[in-house]
Each structure stands twice: as structure tokens, then as C-alpha cells.
């Protein structure tokens, strides 16, 4: 089916083909009779041999042969020579079939089946593999079979690693060999096998892979291996806590829903109808086991024993980077409370790869509970008026102190040296796509390892320039470099209090909400959310975002502006379902309803929520609309929005608006119009 140039067939070719077809038909039908009648005579078996020689893909014939073998083995004396003879014949038939088509699944599996009966020697199998590797060193059937033989015969990983050495030295352009190498090496490193310490091995591997990348920069064989080495260099196996909200040493003001008179411009004010505030833990990798036994809370806030911790966003998953618990408070009990949180005092927090959280961390914050003075106003929230400049003395920015991730890591030095060495090598590589991309990644890695505030952020200019270069150099992947550029840009903005505060404001009308303005920045991707947990109002309008992936951690977010972006569907906003504080959402002037292909359908937390669909009142009254707008339905019904803007989208119109009002009965403002009856 592959690789045959298109030529009009000549009549003599067609005649020959028809003749072969008749022969094959006859062979097949005789075979079928034998198979169905369970005939396993020598003649019958020989027929299947002929059939498989012509057509190794005739899978029923391989099944038949297994039945024939089992039949014969049952009839003969248990003489090892007789058994050998029978199985040898099978191996011969497989080899002949493979010569016809060395990618035949049926043939390879039949060989494995024969071997599982305890036959043939490692030597034989490895010799066979040599033959096929020579024919095609990328034949994944052969590589898989090799792993099968290695496991069956307990060949050592070190020996197999040496084999990849040989393959690569023979020809570096062998992705299959590099892949196998990565599997073997990561296993040996994880076991701490003799001579396999990361601080020695990884730098050696960098040298090894340079031959692949520098000889032929456009050959992809070494790219992904190098990226894996970078991951091994930069990322620590043991999970670490990256940030929290509230953060250590901060003060927060808690209140009921409503306005406080003279609210503070120094602290975050959190208002809640439910009488609880979120406690957010953000880890550097997905972990499980966050519970009231592994995270202890010391406080006089009543009613918080046996706190339930939830992974965000996947409830059915047991692991996540982000974990949230809700601490209760009573606003009619105004007081000041110190809250002490201890993370990981007792074991139990484990990463998805099985590494324990072993750096217990303690943080303390103060909660000032205030009573509400006035009723909450339901005036429309503006994105342009009513903002105050960020007070430079605002205490909230102290919460930007992200924990020094690497101080828990002991062998830090080799990592820094490895990165430095790579930066030097790639810095002198002539203009190539992989050169620039790798350099950008290396500089990002260097930034991530910097703990000294004085030098934080120095690399970003160069990184952003590299991505700009790549957008021009490799225009097919423009959007990939754009996304990376946006990520780097946001890392830069959040790299220091000073740069972040240039984008911060206070929204006077809502208890001096902390507002972050990131509009008109050509952002195509959200990043650095772990540093933005304290943000309550976020303006991302006039950008190029097509998804809210990442925002689910922003549990304090009550107002979000996504107008004039590239959102294609409500399924792209699925992460907002977890932002329970959200009251104001602007998705006007996007592309919702414009595209037939939904690229975020399966990223929703429950793409098959069909069984839940239509079970509530709205669903029962409007089954047709609920299925038509299923993703809008799922997002909106989980939120308690007061203000929504959807104008300027293809989906907007009378039908959708009236549907929205049914799904969100408490909505006060729709597209700037106050809804009656609220």
C-alpha cells in the first residue's frame, strides 16, 4: 500500500495479475476448508506455508499454524528432537515470510509465540536481528523484537547500551537507536547502577549527542535526546512546593459578600458569600497524597478540622500540580487570626513518578476577618474606569517570593556547569533552527536556576530575540515559537516585583481588588500562573489566546477579560469551571462558533459528560439546545456569573442569549444590558 509510483497498468500486467489472483483465491479457499475442518496433515500445513509465502499478512493462516503446532505437539512423543524439528520449521516459515515483508505483525508475533515455547537460542535470534537491522535500522518491529529477546534472555542493560553505542557510531542518524539509548540510560540512572551517576553521565551524553546535532543540524535524530538531557539536568525528581496563596508573611482581609468601607490598598481583600477562602498549594510537578494528614493547619479559625484537599482541575485524577482546600471563617466574628500551614510534615505526598516530597515547608499568614458594612452593589464592572495606581508599598508583592526550588537539591553544581557548557557550545553554532531553539531553551533553563535576585531576568531579552528569529527562520512552526515567546515574556514580567508592579492596579469599586493588566501584548499562551495566584482581576483582552488552560489555579479570580482574543469554543474555557470565585467574564469579540473542529473537546474535565447532560431543569426543558451548546452549558452552569459579555461571536444571537439566561438565572448583566427580574 505504500511507496508504489503511479503508472497506468498495461494489459499484459493486468492479465498476469488476474492469473495470480485466481491462483491465490484457490489457495485461500482450500486453506479455509482445512482450517474450518481442523485438518492438520503435512499436506494441509504445506498449503498454509505456500499461502504465507505469497501473503504473509493472511493472519488466519498464522492462527492455523499455531493450532497445527499444538495438534502435532500433542500427538508426538515428548522427544526434544521431535519438538525442535516442529518448532524449527515454524521459525523457517517466519523467516521466509519476513523476507517477503519484514514489517509483518503476524510473522513477528508467530516467532515470539514459538520462542515462548522455549526454543531457539539468543545467538540465533540476535543473528536474525542483525540481518534485519542491516536492511533497515529503523525497523521498529525488529527493535521491539530485540527488546523481547533481551528480556527473555536477561541480557544486561549495559550490554544493550553498548549496542546503541555501536549503532550510533556507525550512523548517528538513527533515531531508533537514540530512543533505545534513552530508555536504557534512564533505567540505569534510576537504579543508581555502578558507573551511572547523573553528574558524570549526563555531561558525557551531551558530548555524545553533539556529534548528531552539529554534523547535520537539520537531522532530527539527536534533537529529542538532547531535550531529554536538558530535562534531566534541569528537573529534580523530588517534588517541590513552588508557591502558595496566601504566602508566607502575608496578611489578608476576609469578609462576607459586600463592600467594606475604607478597604485597604495594601492587602488583598477576599469577599465570599460562602464564608470560606481558598488555600492554594502549587507544586512543581503533579503530586498525590495531599490531605489533612500530610498538610496540617494550625489556627483558631473554627470549623476547619479534617479539611478536604482537592486536585485542580482533575477531580477524578489523584495527582495534580495544584491543590486547593477551603478554610471556613465567620464574617460576623471579626478578629485577627494567625494561620500556620505545615506541608509535608508527615510522609504521603508523592509525585506521579513515585518520588516523595521530603522538604517539609511551613508558612504563616494573618487573616483579618471584617464584617460587611454595606450590601453588595450590582453595578456593572468596568475594565477601563475606576482603577488606582498600584501602591509601591503594597504588601501583596511580598507574596511574589517563590521558594528557592533548588536549595533542597544537593548536587546543584554539575547542573549549572552542564548548562553553562551547553550554552557555550550552542552559542557558537552557526545560524540553524535547532541551534537557536536549543540556545533559547538553555537560557530559559539558566533563568530557572538563578536564585540571586540581582541577576534574575537578564537572559530574557536574548531569549525573546531568539524566538523572534525562529519565527522568521522556520515560518512553518511560527505558532510554536509564538507560544514559547509568550511564555518567556510572561516569565520576564513575573521575574521581579518591579516588573510585575508595572502591570498591577487596584479596582476601587470592589474593595480594591488586585488587578493585573496584560492586554495588547500579542500573548498566545498563558504562563507563570504560579506567581499570579494573588490576582483577583485579570485583563487579557486584545491578545491571541485560544484557551484558558492554566488559569484554573487562579482561585481568587473574580473578574476576567478575554475580549478580542481567538477563543473558538466554550470547551476552550473549560478550566474556568474550577474558578469558583468568577463573577465577571468578558469573552466578546472572539471566534466562538466560527469553527467546525473543536480542538479542546477532549481536554475538558469530563468530555463524556453526556450522561449528566440534560438531567437538570434546563436540560429537561431544552434537550436540543443543551446538546447544541453542550460546552457552554457545562462551563456556565458550574459558575455563578453576575456579568457576561458574548457579543461579537458567531454563536451570539437571540437563541444563545436566551439559553444563557436559562442556564445562569442569577446573571445581572449580559452584554452590558441589565437583565430584568434579577
Amino acid at each position: 500500500m505504500h511507496g508504489r509510483p503511479r503508472n497506468a497498468s498495461k494489459p499484459e500486467e493486468e492479465a498476469a495479475s488476474a492469473a495470480k489472483a485466481v491462483q491465490l483465491r484457490s489457495l485461500q479457499s482450500q486453506f479455509m476448508t482445512n482450517h474450518h475442518d481442523k485438518i492438520y496433515t503435512n499436506e494441509a500445513i504445506e498449503l498454509s506455508t505456500k499461502l504465507l509465502e505469497i501473503n504473509p499478512e493472511a493472519y488466519t493462516a498464522w492462527n492455523y499454524r499455531k493450532l497445527a503446532v499444538e495438534d502435532r505437539l500433542a500427538r508426538i512423543e515428548p522427544d526434544p528432537n521431535l519438538v525442535s524439528a516442529i518448532l524449527d520449521e515454524e521459525l523457517r516459515v517466519v523467516e521466509s515470510a519476513l523476507r517477503q515483508n519484514f514489517k509483518s505483525y503476524g510473522a513477528w508475533h508467530h516467532r515470539k509465540w514459538v520462542l515462548s515455547k522455549g526454543h531457539s537460542s539468543v545467538g540465533n535470534e540476535l543473528r536474525l536481528l542483525e540481518k534485519f537491522q542491516k536492511l533497515d535500522s529503523r525497523n521498529f518491529h525488529a527493535w521491539n523484537y530485540r527488546r523481547f529477546v533481551v528480556e527473555l534472555t536477561n541480557r544486561s542493560e549495559q550490554d544493550e547500551l553498548q549496542y546503541t553505542d555501536d549503532m550510533i557510531n556507525n550512523n548517528f542518524s538513527n533515531y531508533s537507536a537514540w530512543h533505545n539509548r534513552s530508555v536504557l540510560l534512564s533505567s540505569l540512572l534510576a537504579q543508581n547502577a555502578d558507573g551511572f551517576m547523573p553528574n558524570i553521565k549526563i555531561p558525557e551524553e551531551y558530548d555524545f549527542v553533539h556529534s548528531a546535532i552539529f554534523t547535520e543540524p537539520d537531522d532530527q535524530s539527536g534533537w529529542f535526546y538532547h531535550l531529554w538531557l536538558l530535562d534531566q539536568t534541569l528537573n529534580v525528581e523530588t517534588p517541590l512546593l513552588t508557591s502558595s496563596w496566601p504566602s508566607h508573611g502575608s496578611s489578608i482581609i476576609l469578609s462576607g459578600a459586600g463592600c467594606l468601607s475604607g478597604s485597604s490598598s495594601m492587602f488583598t481583600t477576599f469577599c465570599s458569600e460562602s464564608g470560606s477562602f481558598p488555600l492554594i498549594l502549587y507544586f512543581d510537578q503533579a503530586v498525590g497524597g495531599v490531605s489533612s494528614s500530610t498538610v496540617t493547619i494550625d489556627s483558631e479559625l473554627k470549623g476547619n478540622e479534617g479539611l478536604v484537599w482537592e486536585p485542580i482541575p482533575n477531580k477524578n485524577s489523584q495527582v495534580s500540580c495544584v491543590w486547593v482546600a477551603r478554610l471556613k471563617y465567620v464574617s460576623s466574628d471579626p478578629c485577627e487570626y494567625k494561620v500556620k500551614i505545615r506541608v509535608g510534615n508527615s510522609p504521603g505526598i508523592v509525585s506521579s513518578r513515585g518520588y516523595n516530597f521530603n522538604a517539609p515547608y511551613e508558612f504563616v499568614f494573618t487573616a483579618h476577618v471584617h464584617d460587611t458594612v454595606e450590601d453588595s452593589q450590582e453595578g456593572i464592572v468596568s475594565w477601563t474606569d475606576g482603577f488606582d495606581i498600584w501602591d509601591a508599598k503594597s504588601k501583596d508583592l511580598n507574596s511574589l517570593v517563590t521558594l528557592d526550588r533548588l536549595n533542597a537539591e544537593m548536587d546543584f553544581k554539575w547542573r549549572q556547569e552542564a548548562i553553562d557548557s551547553e550554552v557555550e557550545c550552542f552559542g557558537i553554532l552557526p545560524d540553524s533552527k535547532i541551534g537557536k531553539l536549543t540556545l533559547a531553551r538553555l537560557l530559559m533553563a539558566r533563568e530557572a536556576m538563578v536564585s540571586d535576585d540581582a541577576v534574575k531576568g537578564v537572559h530574557y531579552e536574548e531569549i525573546l530575540q531568539l524566538y523572534n528569529d525562529l519565527m522568521a527562520l522556520d515560518s512553518s512552526h511560527y505558532q510554536y515559537y509564538k507560544d514559547e515567546h509568550s511564555k518567556a515574556f510572561l516569565h520576564k514580567v513575573t521575574s521581579s516585583s518591579e516588573s510585575l508592579s508595572r502591570h498591577l492596579l487596584r479596582y476601587r469599586d470592589m474593595n480594591n481588588l488586585v488587578c493585573l493588566r496584560l492586554n495588547n501584548l500579542s500573548l498566545s499562551r498563558i504562563a507563570s500562573v504560579e506567581k499570579l495566584l494573588f490576582v483577583q482581576m485579570l485583563d487579557l483582552s486584545h491578545n491571541e489566546l485560544h484557551s484558558t488552560e492554566g488559569l484554573e489555579a487562579m482561585q481568587l479570580l473574580s473578574c476576567l477579560n478575554l475580549s478580542h482574543n481567538r477563543i473558538r469554543s466554550f470547551s476552550a474555557l473549560d478550566s474556568l469551571r474550577h474558578v469558583k470565585q468568577l463573577k465577571v467574564l468578558d469573552v466578546s469579540h472572539n471566534h466562538i462558533g466560527k469553527h467546525s473542529v473543536d480542538t479542546t473537546r477532549y481536554l475538558c474535565s469530563s468530555p463524556l459528560s453526556n450522561s449528566e447532560l440534560g438531567q437538570d431543569d434546563v436540560g429537561k426543558q431544552n434537550p436540543g439546545l443543551v446538546t447544541k451548546y453542550w460546552d457552554a452549558y457545562c462551563v456556565l452552569r458550574d459558575l455563578n456569573l453576575k456579568q457576561l459579555d458574548i457579543a461579537g461571536n458567531e454563536i451570539a444571537g437571540e437563541e444563545f442569549s436566551s439559553f444563557v439566561l436559562q442556564v445562569v438565572p442569577k446573571l445581572v448583566w449580559l452584554d452590558g444590558q441589565k437583565k430584568l427580574g434579577n
Binding site: A18, V22, N180, S476, N610
Partner: protein, 317 residues
Amino acid sequence: MADKLVADKHLRYILNLMAEKKKESFESVVMDHLRMNGAYWGLTTLALLDKLGSVSEDEVVSWVMTCQHESGGFAGNTGHDPHVLYTLSAVQILALFDKLNILDVEKVSNYIAGLQNEDGSFSGDIWGEVDTRFSYIAICCLSILKCLDKINVKKAVDYIVSCKNLDGGFGCSPGAESHAGQIFCCVGALAITGNLHRVDKDLLGWWLCERQDYESGGLNGRPEKLPDVCYSWWVLSSLIMIDRVHWIEKAKLVKFILDSQDMDNGGISDRPSYTVDIFHTYFGVAGLSLLEYPGVKTIDPAYALPVHVINRILFTK
């Protein structure tokens, strides 16, 4: 160079294949055992071109049922042995015609569920070949039949995740090299079961987007291989499921697919000027569907069936 999809020619190409006279070329006989797959490829293409009505539903459906084995599984053609590969195609064909109700769902689902192994993996049939393709098949098929609870989904998912490689891709078994076809199967299975958070989308997305060949705009299946129209499905659907499709240049890919058409006789080949076949015709049209090419109905990237067919199944009890 082609500038449009010659849908009418492809329609005729497919209908000719399904008619009697084409059956007796050597190419056709040698693929006799996978006729069920061929039928699925042909019929789904027709459905995407809104021409499913051109075939006799009764003829197709009754032939499909002759391929069902007493074990509940379906064979590639009448008389052959059952296998999950053909069981999925059979169920998909019945779904296209909205004829799932003629199935003994218990029987079919028990056949598939019975092939799950201790470690969560799936065998293709009683002979025990294990491959993540079969994990996808089991999950996709049982999901369509609404019998996912017959298998241990958690173990199935964990097994698939154990086949995840350090480059972010997936292979056919633990430790096997990443390959776009296997990636489609694993990502599809994780998508259907709501487990895409187990995928490193940025890492895999970059590996996938680098399948696009700068010159031709076509996609290959793994590094340093030739571009091939069938990867317009496997790479593209994977990218769509993880929301990274904007990382490739869509217009160039459209051109590669259109250039691979046989403008005279219909059908699409693996690359421009090569021999056409039903396999590549389907993947070319399905790829164009995912690229929102006008005149082609939308296909679901996980189930590989038209979206309206999937919605019909998922949104009714």
C-alpha cells in the same frame, strides 16, 4: 498541481472498489482478509463527502454480520478468524448507518473485555499479541457500545501511560519507539477516557509538529522518514486532541494532500504521483476534514467517525 478536492472522482473510485469487478485483481485478493477495514475506510470517506446514501445499506450491513464469529468478535472477511481490528471496524460501520441496535451488545463487548490482560493491556485476539493499538480499539469500541465499565479502565489507562516515551510520544508497548500511529491510538484512548492530563502536551506537540516536511508540507510518522498522506490523519488528529494543531502550517498540508490525488481516476495516494488506494483516500479526506476543508463534513479526531455520528451516540442514553 491540484487546487481542489475532486470529490466526485473519489466517490466513483470508492464505488468501483466496492463493486464486483474490481474484486479480482491480485492486489484485491491479497487484502481479502482486511476487507472489513477497507469497508470502514471507504464508507467513512463517503460519509464525510455526504454520499453514504450511494451504497446499499442492507447489503453492507448483512455482509458485516456474516463476519461475526461465535465468540462475538468480527473477522476481516467471511470465514476468517475474529480479531479486535475488524471488530472495531464492524462496529464503526454499523454506527455510520445508525444500525448499532442490531448487535448483540453483550456478546461483542464480552469478546473485547475478555481480551484485557492482568497488566491492563489488550491482546488482539486469543493468540495474545499485545499492542497499544488494541488498547485504543477496545476503549473506542466499548465506548461506542457504552460498555466501558466492562473493562478495568484505570489499569488500561495506566498501561497506556507506561508506553509513554521520554520524547513525549507513545509506542506499541513499554519501551517501544514513538510512532505517529501508536501516538494516535494512545492519545485517542486517553482522550475518550478523559485522561489527557497524563500527556505532556507541549513535549508531544513539539515532536508531532516537527513531523511536517518543510519542502512538501506533508507529515511523516517519525523523525527522518518520508512524508505520507496517512500521517495527515494520525499526526493531525493527535495534535487536535491535545490542542496543538496551530503548531503546524495547515495550508501547506492541505496542498500536500490535494497534490496526492489522482485527478483523472480518483483516489488519493501516499504522496504525489504514487499509486492510490482506499487507505490513503480515507486518510487524505479525513485529514482535509480536520483542516476544515470546505465540502467535507467534520470528523471526530478520537473516534475517527463523523462528529454527527458520535454526537448521536454520546448524547442519547
